[in-house]
C-alpha cells in the first residue's frame, strides 16, 4: 500500500549494504511503514506475543539441551540436576515448561480471535491454514518435550499418544513399532523425541515466516472485518502497532512471570516427579492442560478407531474452516447469530478441557459427548447454514467510519 515513506538509508554503510542485500528495506516496509488497520484492538497483539514466546522457547531450550541427557537411565536425573545444580537451571527450566503453557494460551487466544473476527476468510485462507500447520507442529513439539522429562506422566503420555496410531487398521501396529524403535516406549523413543523436539521449533519458525509473509500479502484483518480503502483507514506499523504490541507483551509477561516465580508447578502433574516406570501405570493419566479438550473428545467415544478419528478430525477440521463458513461477512460484530453460536463453541471448548481432566465416568461422559457433538456441529452444521439464514447487520462504509462514526 502506498502513502507511507519508503526506506532511504542515510548511513553510507547501510546504503552500501542496501544495494547488495536490501534487507533494511524489507524490514522497513514490513515492520515500520507497513500499514495496519487503525482499529486493531488488543486481541491483535497475540501474534507478536507468539513470536516472542517462540523465541523464549528456542533460547531456553537450547541452553537446557546443554545440560540434558537423552537416555532412559539419565534423563530424569539430568532434569533434576538442572533444577538443583545448574546455575539458574531452575529458572531456565521453569521458564521453558511454563513458557510452553503460555505459548499455548496465547495461540488459543489468537485462534479464538481469528474465528471471532473471520480472519480465515478470503483472501486469508492460506494464512489461516499455515496457522493450523503451526499449531499442529506446536502440539507435536510440546508433546515430545513433555516426554523428555521422563517422569511417570512423560512415559505414559508417550505410550498412550503413540498407541493412538495402533487404531489404524492393518498397518497400525507396525507404525507404532516404527515410532518406538522397539517393542515398547524406550530408549530409542526418547532419543528420537529429543532429536525432533530440537528440530521442530525451527520448522515452526520457518512456517511462521510463511505465515507472516502471507499476512503481509493479504494485509491484516481487523475488528470491523472490512478491507482498508484509503490511507485514513490505516496507521504505520511503527510506532502504532509496535508500541501497542510491546505494551501488551509486557502485561502478558507479568502473567508469565507470575507462573514462573510463584506457581511454577501449578500446571504440571505431581506424578511427573516420579521417574518413569514401565511396569506401573499411574492411577490416572492426564495430558497437559492444553491438550485436554482433544483428550475429552477421544474419551467421549467408546470405540477406539472412532475416538482416535474424532481426535484428529477435531484439529484437522480447522483447516477447512474457510470453506465451511459460508457467510460473506467476516466480523462477528455484524453477525448477531454467529456471535451466540461462537460463544457457545468457546464454552464447549473450555468445557471439554475441564472434562478432559475428570475421570471418564457418569455425568462427565455424557457432558463430553454433548460438548464434542456441539464442537463438530459448530463447524459442520452451524457455520454452513448461518451463511444462508443469518441476517447480518449493515457493515460500515470504511474502517475510519467504524472508529470515528459517520462524520469521518
Amino acid at each position: 500500500m502506498s502513502g507511507h515513506a519508503t526506506y532511504q538509508p542515510t548511513n553510507r554503510a547501510m546504503q552500501w549494504l542496501e544495494k547488495r542485500l536490501p534487507i533494511g528495506g524489507l524490514v522497513y516496509s514490513s515492520f515500520v511503514a507497513y500499514p495496519t488497520p487503525r482499529n486493531l484492538n488488543y486481541w491483535w497483539t497475540f501474534g507478536g506475543i507468539l513470536s516472542f514466546m517462540l523465541g523464549v522457547q528456542i533460547v531456553t531450550g537450547i541452553v537446557l539441551a546443554m545440560h540434558y541427557t537423552p537416555h532412559v537411565d539419565y534423563a530424569f536425573k539430568s532434569v533434576e540436576t538442572i533444577m538443583r545444580d545448574v546455575n539458574y537451571g531452575w529458572l531456565l527450566r521453569y521458564a521453558h515448561a511454563n513458557g510452553a503453557a503460555m505459548f499455548f494460551f496465547a495461540v488459543y487466544v489468537h485462534m479464538f480471535r481469528g474465528i471471532y473476527y473471520g480472519s480465515y476468510k478470503e483472501p486469508r485462507e492460506v494464512l489461516w491454514i499455515l496457522g493450523v500447520i503451526i499449531y499442529l507442529l506446536m502440539m507435536a513439539t510440546g508433546f515430545m518435550g513433555y516426554v523428555l522429562v521422563w517422569g511417570q506422566m512423560s512415559f505414559w503420555a508417550a505410550t498412550v499418544i503413540t498407541n493412538l496410531f495402533s487404531a489404524i487398521p492393518v498397518v497400525g501396529d507396525s507404525i507404532v513399532t516404527w515410532l518406538w524403535g522397539g517393542y515398547a516406549v524406550g530408549n530409542p523413543t526418547l532419543n528420537r523425541f529429543y532429536s525432533l523436539h530440537y528440530l521442530l521449533p525451527f520448522a515452526i519458525a520457518g512456517v511462521v515466516v510463511l505465515h507472516v509473509w502471507a499476512l503481509h500479502v493479504a494485509g491484516q484483518n481487523n475488528p470491523a472485518g472490512i478491507e482498508p480503502k484509503s490511507d485514513k483507514d490505516t496507521v504505520a506499523f511503527t510506532p502504532y502497532a509496535t508500541v501497542k504490541d510491546a505494551f501488551f507483551l509486557g502485561c502478558f509477561c507479568i502473567l508469565y512471570a507470575w507462573f514462573v516465580f510463584y506457581i511454577p508447578n501449578y500446571l504440571g502433574h505431581p506424578d511427573n516427579y516420579i521417574p518413569a516406570n514401565p511396569a506401573v501405570t499411574p492411577s490416572e493419566i492426564v495430558p497437559e492442560w492444553y491438550y485436554l479438550p482433544f483428550y475429552a473428545i477421544l474419551r467421549s467415544i467408546p470405540n477406539k478407531l472412532l475416538g482416535v478419528t474424532a481426535l484428529f478430525s477435531s484439529i484437522g477440521i480447522l483447516a477447512f474452516l474457510p470453506w465451511l463458513d459460508t457467510s460473506k461477512v467476516r466480523s462477528a460484530r455484524y453477525r448477531p447469530l454467529f456471535r451466540q453460536f461462537f460463544w457457545l463453541w468457546v464454552i464447549a471448548c473450555i468445557g471439554l478441557g475441564w472434562l478432559g481432566s475428570k475421570p471418564p465416568e457418569g455425568i462427565y461422559v455424557i457432558l463430553s459427548r454433548v460438548f464434542a457433538f456441539y464442537y463438530f456441529a459448530f463447524f459442520l452444521i452451524v457455520l454452513p447454514l448461518l451463511g444462508v439464514f443469518e441476517k447480518t447487520k449493515p457493515l460500515p462504509n470504511s474502517i475510519s467510519e467504524s472508529v470515528l462514526g459517520a462524520k469521518a
Partner: protein, 182 residues
C-alpha cells in the same frame, strides 16, 4: 527462447521423463534407510529373544508380571473358581468373542498368559480389580475378565496372547509357539 508447442513427442520429451523417473527412483531409494533406521535395531531384536519362566512359585490365584520384549506379561494362576467364571459366561455375546479354551493351552487351563497391555491405548491394567474377576485399566476404565477378555470399556480387543510354550507342567517359554503339544 522460443517455445514450440508440438503435439508430437520428441526424443527430448523422452529424455526429460526418463531423467525425472530415474531421479524419483533414486530419491525413493534414499528414503529407505532414512525410514528403516527408526525400526527396532539388531540389539533390540536380540534382546527380544524368548524367555523361560518357572511357574512353580506362583501360588493359586496369584498374578505375576514378567517382562518380554519390554512388554509386561501377566501370568495368572487361576483357581477353579476363576476358570469356572471364565468358562460359564456366554462368550458369543462378548465384545471380542472368544471361548476360554482358546485363551489357554489345553491341559493347562489353570494358567492364563496374556500381554499386560490394555488394547485401548497401552496402559497396564491393574490385577484383581474391576467387576469381572480379572483386570481394570485405570486410564480409560476398560475391564477384563479372568480369561483376559474385554468385558466393559473402550478397549476393542481381548488382552493379546503372547506366543508361548509349556516346556513342562511348571515351566513355559515366552516368545515361541511350539507346533507339537507339550
Amino acid at each position: 527462447m522460443t517455445t514450440v508447442s508440438s503435439a508430437e513427442h520428441t526424443r527430448r520429451d523422452f529424455l526429460y521423463i526418463a531423467t525425472g523417473a530415474v531421479g524419483a527412483v533414486g530419491a525413493a531409494a534414499a528414503l529407505v534407510p532414512l525410514i528403516a533406521q527408526m525400526n527396532p535395531d539388531a540389539s533390540t531384536i536380540a534382546a527380544g529373544a524368548p524367555v523361560e519362566i518357572d511357574l512353580a512359585p506362583i501360588a493359586d490365584g496369584q498374578i505375576v508380571k514378567v517382562f518380554w520384549r519390554s512388554k509386561p506379561i501377566f501370568i495368572f494362576h487361576r483357581t477353579k473358581h476363576d476358570i469356572q467364571l471364565a468358562e460359564d459366561v456366554d462368550w458369543h455375546t462378548l465384545p471380542d468373542p472368544e471361548p476360554d479354551a482358546e485363551r489357554v493351552k489345553k491341559g493347562h487351563e489353570q494358567w492364563l498368559v496374556v500381554i499386560g497391555i490394555c488394547t485401548h491405548l497401552g496402559c497396564i491394567p491393574l490385577p484383581h480389580e474391576g467387576n469381572y474377576d480379572g483386570w481394570f485399566c485405570p486410564c480409560h476404565g476398560s475391564q477384563y475378565d479372568s480369561a483376559g477378555r474385554i468385558r466393559q470399556g473402550p478397549a476393542p480387543k481381548n488382552l493379546y496372547l503372547p506366543p508361548y510354550t509349556f516346556l513342562s507342567d511348571s515351566k513355559i517359554r515366552i516368545g515361541e509357539e511350539s507346533t507339537k503339544p507339550a
